[in-house]
């Protein structure tokens, strides 16, 4: 799904990365915890989060997230916006709840990430 479609589906405001909305995302996931993002995340995914801090932007970039969407209309801290600009990370704000944002993307066919634990478990089984 193109980021432009994500913006439309989530009725999001684009704070950073208006020029990057043609970027494609193969999946989306939700987390308010940095280590969970690193554990479950999938490169290229859209991250839905309630965390408004720069720390999540940094982690998202390291995890190759395609865009960060902050939910519930929360405003990210200034450092988060600056870091998103510096790293070229699209940063959006949606007025909808985390649950609703997940649903809005899911019904449009955007799957969740494949958890690393599931990959590791299937490796152990085989």
């Amino acid at each position: 799904m193109r980021l432009a479609e994500v913006v439309e589906a989530l009725e999001a405001e684009v704070l950073v990365g208006r020029e990057l909305l043609e970027r494609q995302a193969p999946a989306a996931g939700a987390s308010d915890v940095v280590s969970d993002l690193l554990f479950f995340g999938r490169p290229g995914m859209v991250l839905l989060t309630g965390l408004t801090r720069a720390s999540m932007i940094r982690a998202a970039e390291l995890a190759d997230v395609a865009a960060v969407v902050i939910v519930r209309g929360k405003r990210p801290e200034d450092e988060a916006v600056e870091l998103a600009r510096e790293l070229g990370m699209p940063l959006l704000v949606s007025p909808h709840s985390l649950y609703d944002c997940c649903g809005r993307l899911y019904v449009r066919g955007l799957p969740g990430p494949i958890p690393a634990c599931r990959r590791a478990e299937s490796e152990e089984d085989s």
Partner: protein, 140 residues
């Protein structure tokens, strides 16, 4: 790097990610190195006084050694339990302190060693080798 502060947290790992992209390491392996390095860096920021993280690339693999000066870990077995954390309230506000850092490192690395001395510090050594599940795709 200096511990106890979050202002620059993650910048070192960002630099590691950028430099690994120039080495030709397979993308999935590089990603595992970056995640493990980041978790090690964050442990230093959250818990230690200061520390160093050394990343070296050898052929198709890599080694990461993270050494810190700090309180050390009294019970390493307990610290390795997923979800166990001694992180401060401030760390949790920033999205840290889930107690998954060492777990993530173990998942990402192909060998993992941790040693700690209370009142002195902690050292983590990790090795990364190509896995059958790694993609053949190299960084573009």
């Amino acid at each position: 790097m200096l511990g106890g502060g979050f202002f620059l947290a993650g910048r070192a790992s960002g630099e590691v990610k950028r430099r690994l992209g120039e080495t030709g390491l397979a993308r999935e392996l590089a990603r595992r190195v970056v995640i493990a390095t980041y978790e090690a860096e964050m442990n230093i920021c959250i818990h230690a006084i200061s520390g160093d993280v050394c990343v070296s690339v050898e052929g198709k693999g890599a080694t990461v050694v993270a050494t810190d000066r700090g309180p050390g870990i009294a019970d390493v077995e307990q610290a390795l339990v997923p979800g166990f954390s001694t992180a401060s309230e401030k760390a949790r506000e920033l999205g840290f302190g889930a107690g998954m850092g060492l777990t993530n490192m173990q998942r990402c690395a192909d060998s993992f060693k941790i040693e700690s001395e209370v009142g002195c510090g902690t050292t983590v050594q990790m090795e990364f080798r190509p896995r059958p599940t790694d993609s053949e795709e190299k960084p573009g």
